[in-house]
């Protein structure tokens, strides 16, 4: 038995950590030598490529490291999957370099938004919006310069797909707007994206929620990704990320060529070709990530068509990760991927380490650029003609593979450039917000209360998002005092009415609304009632479209009438009263309250792990429509529940003149037994434990360890 040292090279980890800690480029070259060799040996597609001979230029003519690193990012690693210390160190390092770090889908602590006294910027400048929408509110969206929509990863369990309850400590729950100890599930799809048009609407929402940020879309590299990327470009995203699925933490080395479909090399090549051939490349930037580890990897990514690059596990290694792959056990001994306070103390990574890593990568890349004869990285993007298959790599797995499609330069219609040369043209001409922001100046600048009346049409989309952005920029998620700004709309509201509406703003709509009403509601109040002169009664008619209050994290909505399907999906903190809902109501809810004063569709409360719903079940059909996998249905007996419910119905009736509400209140004692409470099982347990703890009145920190381990 010959000794075969074949695991992810421990030697490489050691050499890299030495390099970044001592700022030793020679050690770094040793590291990348090992990695590149291994790439050739077995593990990657790029290992099968080599550079063609170019006309070398002098190294000092090549663009400097400081410019190159601005194109570098770190992969989406959520706070929760890695420790606070690691997450903030990454952010500080990337911000100092002028690159970006990625929040991942775990929300972010608002305390990180203002600069530190020493000028360090601890916030992630790419904020991710994933299907779970954990921690996504107006403040989250406002504090960054890139908003990244993470598209679903199909059957592949993605990073952060599930966060086990024991990792959800108090702090993590706080930034995700969830309950400590309750497992978090990211639903497979985005409930507001079922088509490219939906995606384009979300892009538009985000553009409104932060006009200063670019919007990117993360796609997983797979066959057909080019076509999706083209759709993304048409949907007006500013950047598309082709992700090779590094997985960031705990990634296992790619070991078999049969998974080639998930490698960024293929997806990137396809994306580049489709974008160029469809004359879309010039308006969208392309980023790639997935096991990028050396300057050579970046050079190949560039030639295949990427202008930006993300680093996942390699970045963590620079900060002390030793590829334990114990990430899921919360027992990471170096404090990188753990929430255990004892272990977090062991974190020794410094921003300088990651900065050194990035600079070394850039330096290596410069060397290759000089050799190939590129002075500017821009000139190198998409130059697949400089790549060829390395005949010397004689690997049985590589036999019979045809790379001509991958290495084919695309046809350039009308001289379409190989890289992004312009910007998306976003059309805000039908947006009401610019005018609203103007009109609300006294409120935003001086805190004066004001009330406005406006007409609205269904081509006016995402109303309120930019207004909220302006309030949030100034006041954070605390927003303004209640009802500082009131806008009375009249008409038919377009999609995403009241999206991300923040505290202190009340939108009252007389009329009806399209899909995504109250998307991401962030503390504001929405009141919806039929026009005064309408002949129909609200509770028998759908007054607002599908997917209302999706991903809401706070605030209130009172709807006199029925809502469509997927009401309150992924709600984590808003309170809503409505007079009936379609299928899949309250799916994946983790917090907040929903009161349904009428019939529900099927599959109610599927995957619901937090919050409560009260349902007025007049016909006693509800238990046939509710998905009982994670929730219990119980009568309403507790004093607190009764009072809470009654107040909500009273307020609903007060705000919306609801007939149903009025009737229920008139005969409150008789109506009450018709109400049921939908209570997630895990949530109840977690609440009980928290309550126990609180009554014992011991140190608060103990909650983290005791309750949930």
């Amino acid at each position: 038995m010959k000794s075969d040292r074949h695991l992810f090279s421990a030697e490489a980890i050691v050499a890299m950590q030495k390099a970044v800690r001592n700022k030793d480029f020679n050690s770094f070259k040793e590291y990348s030598g090992i990695i590149n060799d291994r790439a050739r040996g077995l593990n990657t597609l790029r290992g099968l490529f080599k550079f063609k001979k170019g006309h070398p230029v002098a190294l000092d003519e090549v663009e400097p490291v400081e410019d190159i690193v601005k194109r570098f990012t770190t992969g989406a690693m959520s706070y929760g999957s890695i420790s606070r210390e690691a997450h903030e160190t990454i952010a500080i390092a990337m911000n100092r370099l002028g690159g970006r770090s990625n929040s991942g889908e775990g929300g972010e602590d608002e305390a990180r938004y203002p600069l530190d006294s020493d000028g360090s910027d601890r916030k992630s400048h790419t904020k991710q919006i994933a299907s779970g929408r954990f921690g996504v509110n107006a403040a989250y969206l406002a504090n960054c310069n890139e908003l990244q929509i993470k598209m679903a990863q199909g059957a592949k369990p993605g990073e952060g797909g599930q966060l086990p309850g024991h990792k959800v400590n108090e702090e993590i729950a706080r930034v995700r707007f969830t309950t400590p100890g309750v497992m978090l599930i990211s639903p497979p799809p985005h409930h507001d994206i079922y088509s490219i048009e939906d995606l384009s609407q979300l892009i538009f929402d985000l553009k409104n929620a932060n006009p200063d940020a670019r919007v990117s879309v993360k796609l997983v590299s797979e066959v057909g990704v080019g076509t999706v990327a083209a759709g993304v470009a048409k949907g007006k995203a500013d950047m598309v990320l082709i992700s090779g699925g590094d997985g960031g933490t705990g990634a296992s080395p790619l070991s078999s060529i049969k998974y080639a479909g998930t490698w960024w090399e293929l997806g990137l090549a396809e994306t580049q070709q489709v974008l160029v051939m469809n004359k879309l490349r010039s308006r969208i930037r392309v980023q790639t990530d997935g096991q990028l580890k050396t300057g050579r990897d970046v050079a190949i990514a560039t030639l295949l068509g990427a202008e930006e690059y993300g680093f996942g596990s390699a970045a963590l290694v620079s900060l002390g990760c030793v590829m334990m792959r114990a990430c899921h056990t919360n027992a990471c001994p170096v404090g990188v991927a753990t929430q255990n306070p004892e272990l977090r103390k062991r974190f020794t990574g410094k921003p300088e380490h990651l900065m050194n890593f990035m600079c070394f990568i850039a330096e290596e890349l410069r060397g290759i650029m000089a050799e190939l004869g590129f002075r500017k990285l821009d000139d190198m993007i998409g130059r697949v003609d400089m790549l060829e298959v390395d005949k010397a790599v004689d690997h049985y797995k590589a036999k019979g593979l045809d790379f001509s499609k991958v290495l084919m330069p695309p046809e350039r219609v009308d001289g379409e450039p190989l890289r992004c040369t312009s910007q998306q043209e976003h059309d805000f001409s039908l947006s009401l917000d610019p005018e609203l922001v103007e009109a609300c100046k006294p409120a935003i600048e001086k805190g004066e209360s004001l009330s406005l009346d406006r007409k609205i049409r269904n081509c006016n989309r995402s109303v309120g998002a930019t207004l909220s952005y302006n309030v949030t920029k100034k006041y954070g998620s605390e927003g303004l005092p209640e009802d500082t700004i009131t806008v009375n709309f009249d008409g038919s509201a377009g999609q995403s009415f009241g999206a991300f509406l923040t505290k202190g703003i009340t939108f009252r709509l007389k009329g009806e609304s399209n899909d995504y009403f109250g998307k991401g509601l962030s503390g504001g109040r929405l009141i919806l009632q039929p026009p005064l002169d309408s002949t129909f009664s609200g509770f028998r008619n759908i007054i607002t479209g599908n997917v209302n209050l999706f991903g809401a994290s706070g605030g209130e909505a009172f709807i006199n009438g029925m809502a469509g399907e997927r009401f309150c999906v992924r709600n984590s903190g808003a309170t809503a009263v409505v007079e009936g809902v379609g299928d899949h109501g309250c799916e994946y809810m983790t917090g907040g309250t929903a009161v349904i004063l009428g019939p529900t569709g099927v599959n109610f409360a599927a995957g619901m792990s937090g919050g409560v719903a009260y349902v007025y079940d007049e016909n006693q059909l509800f238990d046939t429509r509710c998905n009982l996998e994670m929730v219990d249905i119980e009568p309403i007996v507790g004093e607190k529940d009764i009072i809470r419910l009654k107040i909500l119905v009273q307020r609903h009736t007060g705000y919306t003149d609801s007939l149903v509400g009025g009737r229920i209140l008139e005969s409150w004692e008789e109506s009450l037994p018709s109400f049921v409470k939908v209570m997630p099982i895990e949530y109840r347990k977690a609440l009980e434990k928290i309550r126990e703890r609180e009554t014992q009145n011991t140190e608060t920190t103990a909650i983290t360890e005791e309750v949930f381990v």
Binding site: A10, G320, M324, L343
Partner: protein, 474 residues
């Protein structure tokens, strides 16, 4: 995988030693065996790392450490033994005398005390012997090929066992009276009792390895003869040529090579006859020159023989003092001050000391002259150089001087010169995949690498056996 967070729950427990004044009365092992049961929690501290540095970077024989740690934690001792045996022929040797580079590269050593890997290894194999799990594994069929192995240290022993198990007829030649190499005639009993070797030799005998002891190959029997009689030859003769100290007075009586001294001591402990004049430290002022392991073994032996006082001088600077449980140079072997069990038995150590000369009375050494030096860091590619500290000369009255300054290379006896195997720059036998420059002659262990460690000798012995097997079965 051990116990999740086990390392936070359980503390490392160190190996225990017998009390100094008790242990100085005998040559029995100084350590107190822990039972495997006592080590269960220690196994639970192992994290079964995705990248097990102990196994990949630390252990030269690439022991499957996380696997047996986990088995210990689960109480599966036989399984632990079976996993251990896969990579290591003689864990009872390494479990006693290995410096355990596995532990300094254990992931826990980044910021915590490592898993007690070496203790675990030792406990597993002792349990296996106690339970009768260590049984001969003779080959199922003979290949009809034969191999002569020259030199019976750990390299020769491991190679012999592997070759025999592969079906070859193996004869192990040893110039000493007994098998074991430095395990028997170098390392003192208080670190490794010799019945530990005997116990293992029973297994080798039962598997069919033939021993020819008291035969110096090259002198008593020629290489040409061996090449006639055997299909292949393996040189595992160790690096027996000691480094000398060419200073005035070196020829005086009372100045000896450490190996002569230690070898004789081991023979005496084993009641083995020896021809040379008796060397003893009883009542003497002893100076050991050389600060390494061999020197430390001399210290412990001299203490047991009743030395009046023992000094140990080292020419290199004193390494950094480090009393933390973790490794400042993780995962590499740290250059830190090590204090052996022998040092704790009483010894005055000094560093940066250069020996100038000896003087004697009636042909026997009585005094040594020394001075302190300073090391100047070398520039790029050049070694550090030394400079005398002016006015630092001093002398020391001594009765016995032991030269423990390491070994230069394999002994250049006729076994090496007759077949004219090519040597490397340092005088060791050159090899590529354990093949020497002469077809059919192989080499492994210290004879090939220069003085090293038992665990490396074991590993190279195994790998050489593989190379020989491939060549024989070609």
């Amino acid at each position: 995988m051990g116990k999740t967070n086990g390392f936070l729950e359980y503390r490392r427990t160190e190996l225990k030693y017998r009390e100094v004044d008790k242990r100085l009365n005998d040559y029995d092992e100084v350590t107190i065996d822990k039972s495997i049961e006592e080590l269960v929690e220690q196994g639970g501290r192992c994290m079964e790392c995705g990248t097990p540095f102990c196994h990949i970077i630390g252990c030269p024989i690439i022991n499957l450490i996380p696997e047996w740690n986990d088995a210990i934690w689960r109480g599966q001792w036989k399984e632990a033994y079976e996993r251990l045996e896969i990579t290591n022929n003689f864990p009872e040797f390494t479990g006693r005398v290995c410096p355990a580079p596995c532990e300094t590269s254990c992931t826990l050593s980044i910021n915590d005390a490592p898993v007690t890997i070496k203790q675990n290894e030792r406990a597993i194999i002792e349990k296996a012997f106690d339970e009768g799990w260590v049984i001969p594994r003779p080959p199922k069929a003979d290949t009809g090929k034969s191999v002569a192995v020259i030199g019976s240290g750990p390299a020769g022993m491991a190679a012999s066992q592997q070759l025999r198990r592969a079906g070859h007829a193996v004869t192990l030649f040893e110039k000493n009276r007994k098998i074991g190499g430095l395990l028997r005639y170098g390392i003192p009993d208080f670190k490794l009792e010799k019945n530990v070797i005997d116990r293992r030799l029973e297994q080798l005998t039962a598997e069919g390895v033939l021993f020819e002891t008291g035969v110096t190959v090259g002198e008593d029997i020629s290489i040409r003869y061996l090449r006639d009689k055997f299909d292949a030859i393996l040189f595992t003769m160790g690096a027996g040529e000691p480094r000398d100290l060419p200073v005035p007075g070196r020829e005086l009586d009372g100045i000896h090579y450490a190996m002569d001294y230690l070898g004789q001591s081991n023979r005496r402990v084993a009641n083995e006859p020896f021809e040379e004049r008796e060397l003893s430290a009883r009542g003497k002022t002893v100076l050991v020159i050389g600060g390494g392991d061999t020197g430390s073994d001399c210290v412990g032996t001299a203490r047991r023989q009743g030395a009046k006082v023992v000094y140990q001088y080292e020419i290199m600077p004193k390494p950094m003092i480090w009393d933390k449980p973790w490794n400042p140079s993780w995962p590499e072997w740290p250059q830190i001050l090590r204090t052996s069990s022998s040092h704790k038995e009483g010894c005055e150590r000094d560093w940066n000391v250069e020996t100038l000369s000896f003087e004697g009375k009636n042909g026997t050494v009585s005094k040594g002259h020394f001075r302190f030096i300073e090391w100047l860091p070398g520039g790029k590619g050049t070694r550090p150089s030394m400079e005398a500290v002016e006015g630092s000369e001093f002398s020391l009255e001594v009765d016995l001087v032991l030269l423990a300054m390491g070994f230069v290379h394999v002994e250049h006896g006729r076994a090496v010169t007759d077949p004219a195997v090519e040597l490397d720059g340092r005088g060791n036998i050159k090899a590529d995949d354990y093949r020497s420059s002469v077809d059919g002659i192989f080499t492994a262990g210290d004879a090939n690498t220069g003085a090293s460690l038992v665990v490396r000798a074991l590993n190279h012995g195994r790998l050489a056996a593989e190379s020989i097997h491939d060549w024989l079965m070609g």
